[in-house]
Assembly symmetry: none
Homo-oligomer: 395 residues x 2
């Protein structure tokens, strides 16, 4: 009846150049768990397939993304604490800078969170019969929800991703729902640009936060909860809205940790201590740590290496719980590629499992591990097996 | 954004007696790629399932044979440059020797290619409303296509495979299409035997090429192209018609290499040099090398070993491209069995992937490799991941 702590180090996996950041890092605590535990390579989706963070977390937590994933939007909205209704269409949103009809900064100079929150009051609350809910989060980030009858997420994005004009939203099928939703989005873009451009908060800003770019449209379809499906009482500790949204989607409790920001300066010790407290009351605690992914995207080898060394230092705090500890990632973000890749991610399981001959936790060593190659969908059965909550199949 | 060269050594895998041909061969270049790259075992179809060359190539190239394979015939016909229409029924054909109503040589004494080509003019061009297209290739080999309304490939073969009478073609279901097609095939057999038996070209031949044996009936069903499906610009370099047919089925460009015959004396250096040129213009180059399979079927250990040593010598030519190089086979053809088998095939990936501790490319060493056991369907995701053309699943 062991409790299980699942530590997901976002973007953990890498490629050798000639060493990987994990090979170069001093991580004595994690290596000790690898030595005393069992290791392997995790393929969150299929072999060599490049996962997003959203689809990977869904897969690892037992929610097959081919069935449960409709887009990033609903997960972002849930992560910001917006209660969604079935049929809501949600988007990830960015405040951006529009000058002479062109987006010149997709993040509006990383507008501060307080200004962004203050700008929300200018946005339209209703267009035709559709209610509009917007919530800002950290810096330029936010989520938009459209609520009303006959909406569809089968529409294109307005975010140009690179600089350029805001894209027109177009329906991706011929349904009246898609046509209606695209029209609402375009009206929202027009009205919000107009209102934000004259906002007081933007008057003295060099990079005005005068446009909202939308992407990741998804329709909210509720699902049976993590507890209903697996009879595991689960809690999530994460900084980023997306990860909190994934947990919220599954009805897991979310522990908001002061200083656990989800960025490169997150307070890892605070998150580890919160994990220790959570283990008292929950069967399963997901501890998500974002920063390695950010360093991977920036191509910052030394940053990723230092982040791993920081993470290593909290391992003894987690060990005190006596819980089984699983350490893995949601995908590889090799610093040499500055992007997610389809290379598998190393995994170790310490407690409640066997051991193997592997003594180091890195991409090359774990490929020799006793777990072999496993899939995202294998993780919850692994957790259930360790926790003694697995149901025997047959008799 | 690496280019990828996929070298398929037909029938590569073997069994130890007590060494395998690969273990016995001097292959310093391939072993170097194995040492610096990552290795594993490939199961083209399912574990322990015996693949054909056709189904294996389809699987490895991302065309699930359970969906895309209707029979060997259409692939052979396409490989001979016959343009197929949807609904055409195609066969692999052999010129054979018929004496006193019995087949005494299934290959008509390996009739020379020029004589075979000259014999084609005697064959019927139409039976009832069905157009008949025949093309000869190397020696006794050829392909037959039936074109017309209401045909079916659900019919039996006429090839007795061992000596004996030419088999009657019978419908394998009760459909009028199968009944009609079987009748056409039997009429074709009768008319072609009659015409070939009196042909001038056969007058002085000891083993007359006076019959055509048909097998591998398949209906041509067109499929979306390799480029449409994977956005990889692909080229194929192969001698045998079947492999060119597989590539043609996928709409890949085929590079005809002078001297690249697909038999035991193929000009490997010419094929390697053509591969180097192809890499300039294509994302993905399939280099197919047949000879190991032929030696396997002949039970010729020394021949297979020598062929592997020949193949080893072209590796440095391929390396000059800077492309990622994948070396594998389409199935095992153990010399001790003289037939295809369901033993997995070794694979190495050099460039764009990690490395492992394996230092030799053979059946035993690669089973310890960092890739573990992979399937044919994993190869295109692997190629896409290396080439940077993989689409992220989720965000």
């Amino acid at each position: 009846m062991k409790k299980v702590i699942l530590v997901i180090i976002d973007g953990l996996g890498d490629l050798p150049t000639p060493k990987t950041p994990l090979q170069a890092a001093k991580i004595p605590n994690i290596n000790r768990l690898a030595k005393d535990g069992i290791t392997g390579i995790l393929h969150p989706l299929d072999r060599f397939v490049v996962p997003g963070s959203d689809t990977s977390h869904l897969a690892i937590l037992g929610y097959d993304p081919s069935h449960f994933y409709t887009g990033r939007g609903p997960l972002e909205a849930l992560g910001l604490g917006i209660q969604l209704n079935p049929g809501d269409v949600a988007f990830r949103a960015n405040f951006a800078t529009l000058e002479n009809g062109k987006i010149t900064d997709r993040r509006a100079g990383r507008v501060d969170s307080a200004t962004a929150a203050s700008l929300v009051k200018y946005l339209p609350k209703k267009i035709d019969d559709v209610e509009i809910i917007f919530k800002s989060s950290v810096e330029h980030r936010g989520a938009l929800v459209l609520r009303g009858q006959g909406l569809s997420s089968s529409i294109s994005e307005t975010d140009p991703h690179i600089s350029g004009e805001i894209h027109q939203c177009v329906p991706l099928d011929n349904s009246p729902e898609a046509v209606k939703t695209a029209a609402i989005v375009n009206k929202f873009t027009e009205l919000s640009v107009k209102a934000l451009s004259t906002a007081n908060e933007n008057k003295n800003r060099q990079k005005k936060a005068n446009a909202l770019l939308l992407r990741g449209a998804g329709e909210f379809v509720p699902a049976a909860s993590f507890y209903e499906r697996f009879e595991l009482l689960g809690a999530c500790i994460a900084g980023g809205a997306l990860y909190k949204g994934v947990a919220s989607f599954m009805g897991m409790d979310i522990l908001m940790v002061s200083g656990g920001t989800g960025d490169k300066n997150t307070d890892l010790v605070a998150k580890a201590k919160a994990t220790v407290r959570a283990v008292q009351g929950y069967d399963f605690v997901l501890l998500h740590i974002k920063m390695c992914d950010s360093f991977g995207h920036d191509g910052d080898f030394e940053g990723k290496k230092a982040a791993l060394e920081k993470i290593d230092k909290i391992i003894p705090i987690l060990e005190e719980t006596g819980a089984s500890i699983i350490v893995t990632g949601d995908h590889s973000t090799p610093v040499s590629l500055k992007a997610h890749s389809g290379h598998g991610v190393q995994i170790l399981v310490y407690g409640g499992e066997r051991y193997d001959d592997v003594k180091k936790f890195d991409e090359i060593s774990c490929a020799q591990g006793g777990l072999g190659h496993i899939s995202g969908k294998d993780i919850i059965p692994l957790v259930l097996n360790i926790s003694g909550k697995a149901k025997k199949q047959g008799s």
